[in-house]
């Protein structure tokens, strides 16, 4: 049974739920994009950890670091149960475990893209995951022709919707009209703003389907108590 229209996946990150209109659309595919060091991976991990604390199982698919290495990067989070990963409430996988590794002239073929999505689907079902994070999309999409990438994202979106699993696509970079954004149900942009020589980590919600979301720019801080945001001051 596919996701019910209008149903929300309350992220458990208070500040995010407040500005996206209560949560992400259940079964939606949300793009979290931003340059290196903007906090995307931490955002994704907190999303899964908060879900696990509320009884929702999670799946984290990395296209970069191995699960073992990723565990050593986990930030110190005072709110989190340290055994979430040990207990398997959140499962970490690497994209190399998905599909067959088939390439044609160095490119991921359409059938291989489908195989990867099928394996993600299987992992979601096996884990009974309500939340999924794919971090990051770029390393695999760069190996696909444009049309294959579109088919991949379309299929992934359908899998998430059909299984009522709300997914985050972590996207490296600051390209406003990339394929991930076009196909996503929501876009959260992380980045850096400079004011009088000071660097600020900022967050904006550019799109959230079916929600009257905030369009303000927020300064954010990743703390041991989780992500915190406050509206960026304008001074006029």
């Amino acid at each position: 049974m596919a996701a019910t229209p209008g149903a929300k996946c309350c992220t458990g990150m208070d500040c995010i739920d407040r500005i996206v209109g209560g949560g992400f659309p259940v079964g939606g595919m949300i793009s979290v994009s931003g340059p290196c060091g903007s906090g995307k991976t931490n955002f994704g991990l907190e999303y899964l950890i908060r879900g696990a604390m509320g009884g929702q199982k999670g799946l984290y698919v990395s296209t970069v670091h191995s699960p073992g290495k990723l565990l050593t990067y986990l930030p110190k989070l005072d709110y989190a149960d340290g055994k979430i990963f040990e207990k398997g409430t959140v499962v970490l996988k690497h994209i190399d475990e998905m599909g067959s590794g088939e390439r044609d002239d160095g490119k991921i073929t359409k059938s291989e893209a489908f195989a990867m999505v099928a394996d993600i689907d299987e992992a979601i079902k096996e884990q009974k995951a309500s939340r999924m994070v794919l971090d990051a999309t770029n390393p695999i999409l760069v190996e696909m022709e444009g049309w294959v990438a579109r088919v991949f994202l379309q299929s992934l979106s359908k899998v998430l919707f059909d299984s009522k699993c709300t997914g985050l696509l972590i996207t490296e970079g600051d390209v406003p009209d990339c394929q991930e954004h076009t196909m996503s149900d929501g876009i959260i942009k992380l980045g850096t703003a400079v004011r009088r020589g000071d660097n600020y980590r900022v967050l904006e919600v550019l799109k959230m389907s079916g929600a009257a979301h905030s369009r303000a720019k927020y300064v954010m801080d990743m703390t041991p108590e989780g992500l915190l945001i406050t509206p960026m001051l304008r001074g006029f």
Partner: protein, 188 residues
Amino acid sequence: MEEAAPQILSKLNELGPSVSVDFNIGVEAYFDTLTALVDRFCNKKGLTCIYISVTMPSSTTISALRSLEIDTAKMRFVDCISFATMECASDDAQTVYVESPTMLEYIVLKMEYLFRKGKGEPFMVILDSVNSLAAHNEVRMLYEFMQVLMASAKSRGAYPVILSMEDQMKPELQEMLQLVCDQFVTLK
């Protein structure tokens, strides 16, 4: 000038929490004010004190209070000075640092972090001082910041206290304080 402490305690007890108050003080009353706020009010009422240090590093304030034999165990500092002088201790559980007093949003965020860390404890928030912040920021920016800071502290049921120095007051700063504070008290 009369002793500052009785005036401060009487005012805070009269106003209760969630009412923002500015105490406009002379330099000579600074430590008397600090003692009254931290020892005779916060410690006596069992409040956790979030102390936003803009005038001097948190380590200096802690040393000064300890020399006066005041218990600082329930104090938490948002230190906006030490980072610039590279004097921030990474193992200090009592202090969180803001890189510059111009990064006003991070002061709000660090306060919010300490509220969350305190999980429902009763709080007092002391901003020391608005004049030092005004030396680094435009008044319009400061006005917006103070509104957010005060609203946030009030919504947590904290006692929000701003210190301002009588001999450093500019008219536009005083005007701003009168707009953002529920009470503006000049200690006689």
